[in-house]
């Protein structure tokens, strides 16, 4: 499909502005001093530029701990989810056995339940298993909600990959696991990276379970930590916006780095070769 270059350029600019501008405005606001934020017609550029809010969240609030917690939880969940999900999707896509629809349905159905209903019973469970304030208390429910999407997406993905290469490998005598590792996964790389990003971002964003299952300052993740900035009536907007900026930057880097891997599709050579 060809589009005129001008339209593409216009779309490009529009996307960049629409996506980036709220963040840019947030960043600028976080660098404004004191109450300059709340003037009725605020100046566009901070006068003067100040890093006070950033100093506050890192020196006074140990925000870096929360960042580490979020990274570990999201990273671990993503890794486990991709591993388990790939195995499951591979089984569903390439093997014949009874009960596929039932299993797929069960996996799907679990994710259709509103999380707020699960908070209290899960809390009870985790408390008895002494898991509160551990990373596992978050990883387990996150896996439960991330696996359905992973499995469904990867199953659809694997199904669409042409069978010839795997067939060729099987005829060469390779076992199913070896085929998966050497043939299927590299071909499915865009799908794998997509589910990895989806899972990572889901964990990064999740609030309700993180609020309920982490009670220590040191084990909190980012969304809960940001909410906790507020005092009894006061809402420190400057610091909140600074935290938002800090949180966005690594994710932006992650997205920038991975977007090539997501975009890299099947090369003609691999399909025909």
């Amino acid at each position: 499909m060809r589009r005129s270059p001008f339209l593409v350029y216009l779309a490009k600019v529009l996307f960049i502005v629409l996506s980036f501008f709220p963040f840019f405005w947030t960043f600028l606001s976080s660098c404004k001093p004191g109450s300059q934020l709340f003037q009725v017609n605020p100046p566009f550029w901070p006068q003067p530029f100040t890093w006070e809010n950033y100093r506050a969240i890192f020196w006074e609030r140990s925000f870096y701990l929360n960042i580490i917690n979020s990274l570990v939880v999201a990273g671990a969940t993503t890794f486990i989810c991709v591993v388990l999900g790939s195995l499951a999707a591979y089984g569903l896509a390439r093997f014949r056995f009874r009960g596929k629809i039932a299993i797929l349905s069960f996996i799907l159905v679990v994710s259709l339940f509103p999380p707020v209903a699960l908070v209290s019973p899960l809390f009870l469970l985790f408390e008895q298993a002494r898991l509160i304030n551990t990373y596992l208390a978050l990883i387990l429910p996150y896996l439960t909600f991330a696996l359905p999407l992973t499995v469904w997406l990867l199953t659809a993905f694997f199904r669409q990959i042409p069978f010839e290469l795997e067939e060729a490998a099987r005829l060469d005598g390779a076992g199913p696991m070896r085929i998966l590792w050497e043939v299927t996964l590299p071909l499915a790389a865009p799908g794998i990276f997509t589910t990895a990003i989806l899972t990572f971002i889901y964990c990064w964003n999740e609030f309700l379970f993180a609020l309920a299952f982490t009670t220590n300052d040191t084990s909190r993740t980012i969304p809960v930590a940001i909410v906790m900035f507020s005092g009894y009536h006061t809402v420190p907007w400057g610091q909140i916006l600074a935290a938002v900026t800090v949180v966005t930057v690594p994710v932006a880097v992650l997205v920038l780095v991975l977007q090539r891997r997501i975009i890299s599709g099947l090369t003609a050579g691999a399909v025909k070769g």
Binding site: F38, V72, A76, R130, N133, P186, M228, G231, Y232
Partner: protein
């Protein structure tokens, strides 16, 4: 098939993932020793509380106390408390409760009754502010003790009123004059109050209702929400926005901070807000520092100025493993010096009546000189475990009235019938005060 570089990447990614997974699955370190956990607000409260706890541990070397910061936002903290207490968790010992939660937690048997401890410990309850004690009791028994108090105040631009040679506003009629002041001095906003669809709106609306001599329940416990006087009051409130041009439509989206910011920038003539705003408005970056004053709320012809009573209480978890140690902590936090310092440093006013005559506090908060009665006579919201239902009904109908989705008459009529239905279905007779 697969290039060497790609294979290496795969392996590296897997290794990194494995490390993360193992780190993530590591168990928490075990806890040892006699330790208490105090749950309270985050932000400035936390730093101050930790200082106090160090002092406490110096006095009681065999009791270790950890501070558990919870979100300061009421509903999030309520979520946490309900999650913990409904599973009978012993992990929290002393809780910082919003005053409206005491009856419901007490009815659920989640709080330890404190009458015996108070009597034995010789703690005199006489010095506590009457509304604070009222909120801490349920069915005649003491389930918590007030820690800090809040009551609605009227902030006004003293400089403008002086320049216009007007006395500070006292009655509803004075509110209507705000429009002239606003136009004379070219300010965008007249009277600001919290009008968003949240609990703050209920406080404001109740203050108007009470200050005009109305009520939700009469002294015998009958529901009298839908009275002609209340209808008149609600109409007055709604007309402030749509007819009198006294308040902007924007107040229907305002919470406390929105009002404060606008007033602080000098955009408003009057503001109804809690005491917390006072020290903030006097900072150097505030444009109204030294230009504003504080007076009791305006009242209608039928009543006296009545503020809504808010604030926090300390309660002990009924499932705590260390009730005696918890009581010691409560007593420590509630002793006179600590309450005074809390007021001086955090601006959270103390629950002891005698401290309102304290010279240091009066110097720091000059409005206390004239407004002591405001706090003594502040009125709590209905003290019942059903308050969350009642408050919710009030919130919905006040918000609808304020945004003209219902007329004030409809709002009160429907509110009354819905509250009556809730009481009939869920209530125990004679329990509301």
């Amino acid at each position: 098939m697969v290039g060497g570089g790609q294979r290496l990447t795969q392996v590296l990614i897997c290794f990194l993932g494995l490390v993360l997974a193992l780190w993530g699955c590591g168990a928490a370190p075990p806890e040892t020793g006699v330790s208490l956990v105090l749950a309270g607000g985050s932000g400035p409260e936390e730093a101050f509380a930790k200082d106090q706890l160090q002092e406490f541990q110096r006095l009681h070397p065999n009791i270790r106390v950890t501070y558990q910061a919870t979100p300061s936002s009421a509903s999030e903290r309520h979520t946490l408390y309900v999650t913990w207490l409904s599973s009978h968790s012993p992990d929290i010992d002393v809780l910082n409760l919003d005053v409206i939660w005491v009856p419901e937690f007490a009815a659920a048997d989640w709080l330890l009754p404190l009458d015996a401890a108070a009597a034995e410990g010789g703690l005199s309850l006489d010095d506590f502010l009457p509304p604070g004690l009222a909120c801490s009791r349920y069915q005649g028994r003491l389930f918590s003790l007030p820690w800090f108090v809040d009551a609605g105040l009227l902030y006004y631009r003293q400089d403008l009123y002086a320049a216009g040679e007007l006395p500070p506003p006292r009655t509803f009629a004075d509110l209507l004059k705000v429009r002239e002041v606003k136009e004379k001095f070219g300010l965008p906003y007249g009277f600001l109050f919290q009008g968003q669809a949240y609990e703050g709106l209920v406080c404001v609306a109740l203050e108007f209702i009470w200050s005009n001599g109305g009520a939700i329940f009469d002294p015998d416990g009958n529901l009298v929400l839908d009275s002609s006087r209340n209808r008149q009051t609600l109409e007055t409130l709604v007309n402030l926005i749509y007819q009198e041009g006294v308040s902007p439509l924007a107040v229907t989206t305002f919470q406390e901070e929105d009002c404060r910011h606008a007033f602080e920038q000098g955009y408003a003539v009057l503001m109804r807000n809690w005491p917390y705003a006072y020290p903030l408005l006097n900072r150097t970056e505030s444009r109204v520092a030294a230009k504003f004053g504080v007076v009791p709320l305006v009242h209608g012809s039928g009543g006296k100025p009545t503020s809504c009573f808010g604030g926090g209480c300390l309660g002990i978890n009924a499932f705590s493993r260390y009730p005696e140690a918890s009581w010691k902590l409560v007593q420590f936090l509630l002793n006179r010096e600590n309450l005074k310092r809390r007021a001086q440093i955090l601006g959270m006013l103390p629950p002891l009546t005698s401290l309102y005559d304290d010279t240091d506090l009066m110097r720091q908060f000059p409005y206390l000189i004239n407004l002591k009665d405001v706090f003594i006579n502040a009125r709590p919201r209905p003290i019942t475990p059903l308050y969350s239902f009642i408050g919710e009904i009030l919130r919905v109908h006040f918000s609808r009235a304020l945004t003209r989705q219902e007329t004030p008459q409809e709002a009160l009529k429907r509110g009354q019938s819905e509250i009556a239905a809730v009481l009939a279905r869920f209530g125990r007779p004679g329990e509301v005060r």
